[in-house]
């Protein structure tokens, strides 16, 4: 297995691939270029990104690239599946909570000054209209969207599919959102460490997963202090504030990376009630939630992927 590591999308990126060295090296280069190009397209921290142009075009039709159109289309579908707990139009609330710069910049400047408390999301993302023929997107006036997490998952999956053209098996891990193709030689699963949310240098356990996606959402990783309170980037659309949840992190295993990312976020925001989202899709999804005492709550299918012998009391 060959590896390449670099930083993009404010995350550590790991590419892993098996195959002939020359081809794998070319695949790494191709995948990296794709990731860096996509970051420029989807970032909300640059006025020149396509996402920023879309946000400035609210109230009129915007002709999007195929990539942006696909992610916005996916977002709308997943918003409906999650009953609105995933909602890209929380961007104003996210800024209100203090997340108005990239996390790398924000960490240098904590703690933040006082701001108005958040309000429930005012805009209805279902009002957004899509025209597949022209790749046109229309957002109601005033709507601002953030595609950070879902775009990262989508980019990881697309990059893995590119890399797979050069490798017999490969993985792309974008800051915990990963997509796995094939299996390492002689193995019947990929082994993925589940990071302890309270100690990032330790793993709580290992997951044994097949080809597909793994994504984790955490209230700990992207957090900052504002008004003396710890804030995090997972906004609950019902309140417009960082979600007040029992879980510290939720990991979802699913067929697609964008889907895994969105459901991890949704279950984390919903707390213990979040398992209803996975129950509906139990055959294709599994989740593992970790609470503040490091207890792990595992969905029925999740037990199959934990590399341990369960010990019952």
């Amino acid at each position: 297995m060959e590896y390449a590591e670099f930083r993009a999308m404010n995350s550590d990126i790991l590419l892993a691939a098996e195959g002939e060295l020359d081809r794998v090296t070319a695949g790494f280069s191709h995948a990296r270029q794709f990731i860096e190009r996509s970051e420029k397209r989807f970032t909300r921290f640059s006025d020149q990104s396509e996402l920023a142009l879309l946000n400035r075009s609210a109230g009129e039709w915007f002709k999007a690239s195929a990539a942006l159109f696909e992610v916005v289309n996916l977002s709308q579908g997943l918003m409906l599946q999650t009953g609105g707990l995933f909602d890209p139009s929380i961007l104003p609330a996210l800024r209100q909570a203090g997340y108005d710069q990239s996390m790398d910049e924000l960490r240098k400047k904590s703690p933040r000054g006082s701001r108005e408390p958040g309000k429930p999301v005012q805009q209805d993302f279902r009002m957004l209209r899509l025209d597949p023929t022209t790749k046109g997107i229309w957002m109601p006036p005033g709507m601002q969207i953030d595609l950070g997490g879902i775009a990262k998952g989508w980019i990881a999956e697309q990059a893995a599919r590119l890399l797979a053209q050069y490798a017999s098996a490969c993985a792309v891990n974008a800051g915990g959102d990963m997509f796995l193709i094939g299996l390492p030689e002689g193995e019947n699963a990929w082994h993925v460490g589940l990071e302890d949310p309270l100690d990032p240098f330790q793993d709580l356990t290992q997951l044994k997963v097949g080809p597909g996606a793994v994504a984790t959402s955490s209230t700990v990783k992207r957090s900052w202090v504002q008004d003396g309170r710890l804030q995090h980037h997972l906004i609950d659309p019902r309140t417009g504030r960082p979600a007040d949840t029992e879980w510290l992190s939720v990991t979802v295993i699913a067929p697609h990376a964008a889907q895994a990312e969105v459901f991890a976020k949704t279950i984390l925001i919903a707390g213990p009630d979040g398992d209803r989202f996975v129950s509906q899709n139990d055959e294709e999804m599994a989740f593992i939630a970790v609470d503040k005492d490091r207890n792990m709550f595992v969905s029925k299918k999740g037990k199959e992927v934990i590399d341990v012998e369960l010990q019952y009391a």
Binding site: A16, N173, A215, T216, A289, V298
Partner: protein
């Protein structure tokens, strides 16, 4: 005949020495073999023990450990 024997001994000695040196040089410049046992960091993943269950979920707390084998793919949130 005596001269021939003497010459043969010298030729065998020289050829042996030359072969030894060539072999030495070849091995010295070849790749080192992989060690039989690699000194891997003791990063061990804990086992889980069952605590309680609620609404179809199972709860676990940490107990013991098992070794890592695969690439260090980790997921911890973004």
């Amino acid at each position: 005949m005596k001269v021939f024997k003497h010459g043969l001994r010298i030729w065998i000695s020289a050829a042996s020495l030359f072969g030894f040196l060539v072999g030495w040089i070849l091995f010295a410049h070849s790749n080192k073999p992989a060690p039989l046992f690699q000194n891997q960091p003791a990063q061990n993943a804990p086992l889980l023990s069952f605590n309680n269950s609620r609404a179809g979920l199972s709860s676990f707390s940490l107990q013991q450990q098992s070794p890592f084998r695969q690439p260090r793919l980790r997921t911890g949130g973004s």
